[in-house]
């Protein structure tokens, strides 16, 4: 039989340990999400002229002619691209590819399921708050993923979770998963 004081003290220790573990996990997660560069290495190639300029804190790289941008299994093919890089933090902020049209493809799973898309332009970046890789297809956007086939004016797609975050109409096609 425990005294009132013992009952109060007994669960305190494991609660404190659990709390410490949770705080540590949350703080490390927060630190990871607070810096938002594009994860993994990003590679590019182009056949034509490329211009690199620095304005303020931003270094901009313009590519033209047969532009290919890759990030892991993600591949974007276009006619020209703009890469923006933050000098103080040394992080690649975003990649914008333009084309007639731009082609996007990515292997989603090790089992080989893929997503394909086309649009007038594609914006690739990592979201600051969630750390999610975001692929924005703008202008005559078309996407085919394992669960979705859509044509819209613009589509915001999350390849990590195979979700359509936003679809700007008019749209046609069918979709099975939209992020709420």
């Amino acid at each position: 039989m425990y005294s009132r004081q013992q009952i109060k003290q007994k669960p305190l220790k494991p609660i404190l340990i659990c709390a410490a573990i949770m705080v540590g996990h949350l703080s490390s997660t927060a630190q990871e999400l607070s810096t938002n560069p594009l994860p993994q290495n990003v590679e590019w190639s182009a056949d034509g002229d490329s211009m690199m300029t620095v304005t303020g804190n931003i270094r901009t790289l313009n590519l033209v002619e047969n532009v290919i941008v890759t990030q892991g299994t993600l591949v974007i093919l276009g006619d020209r691209a703009v890469l923006e890089y933050d000098e103080p933090t040394r992080e690649l902020i975003r990649v914008t590819v333009h084309g007639t049209p731009v082609n996007y493809k990515q292997q989603l799973d090790p089992d080989g399921s893929t997503v394909n898309g086309t649009s007038d332009s594609i914006l690739l970046f990592t979201e600051a708050v969630t750390g999610e890789t975001v692929v924005e297809l703008a202008g005559n956007a078309h996407i085919v993923s394992p669960d979705t086939t859509m044509d819209c004016a613009a589509i915001v797609y999350l390849p990590n979770t195979d979700l359509i975050r936003k679809a700007t109409g008019p749209c046609t096609g069918m979709f099975s998963q939209i992020e709420e």
């Binding site: 590019w44 690199m52 992080e91």
Partner: protein, 197 residues
């Protein structure tokens, strides 16, 4: 045994005689070659450990040129060994260039030699440090530098590296005043995510 000694002595004597007979001709050929070479390598100045400072019209340093050795030829060209060029903007050194050799050609521009382009060859490296501590390095094997306009030009393979970006191309024009670099073809680049602290 005696026969062997005699044969050896005869052989040595024959070799010595042949050498002596041709000695004068060897000396004559050598001196003819030397006088010919001396005529081709006409130079009027030779310096070691040079350090040249060029000022702009406002009296501020435009650029400096150091080299292990400098040879100025009669055709008004100048050759540098291990040149080191520092380009200044608003009194501060921003861009630095090193190479194995440098040449200011007599044909590059008339008039003031300080206005001429410098051709840098062999392990050419152009580097700077920005206000954020990020280093930018360009490497190539051959580069034309105009120190007055602070422009670079090459048609060779070139690599530009910053802290997280590495890009290679063939051919480049750079304006170091405005930090604009144009790469001409065969662009290949990679961004390596910086380590999280």
């Amino acid at each position: 045994m005696q026969k062997i000694i005699v044969a050896t002595a005869s052989l040595l004597f024959a070799i010595a005689f042949a050498f002596a007979a041709n000695y004068e001709r060897l000396i004559t050929d050598s001196s003819t070659e030397e006088s010919g070479s001396a005529k081709a390598l006409d130079f009027n100045a030779y310096s070691v450990g040079i350090n040249t400072v060029i000022y702009d019209v406002n009296g501020e340093i435009n650029y400096t040129l150091q080299a292990n050795r400098q040879v100025q030829y009669n055709d008004d060209s100048t050759e540098f060994d291990k040149p080191f060029v520092r380009l200044f903007q608003e009194g501060e050194s921003r861009w630095n260039l090193v190479a194995d050799t440098g040449v200011i050609s007599s044909a590059s521009m008339p008039g003031d030699k300080d206005m001429r382009t410098i051709e840098l060859s062999g392990n050419v490296e152009v580097y700077s440090l920005d206000g954020f501590g990020n280093r930018t390095v360009m490497t190539t094997q051959k580069l034309m530098l105009n120190p007055q306009s602070e422009t670079l030009k090459t048609d060779q393979p070139v690599v530009v590296e910053t802290s997280s970006i590495r890009q290679s191309a063939v051919g480049m024009d750079a304006d170091l005043n405005s930090d604009e670099i144009t790469f001409h073809r065969d662009i290949r680049g990679i961004y390596v995510q910086p380590p999280t602290n």
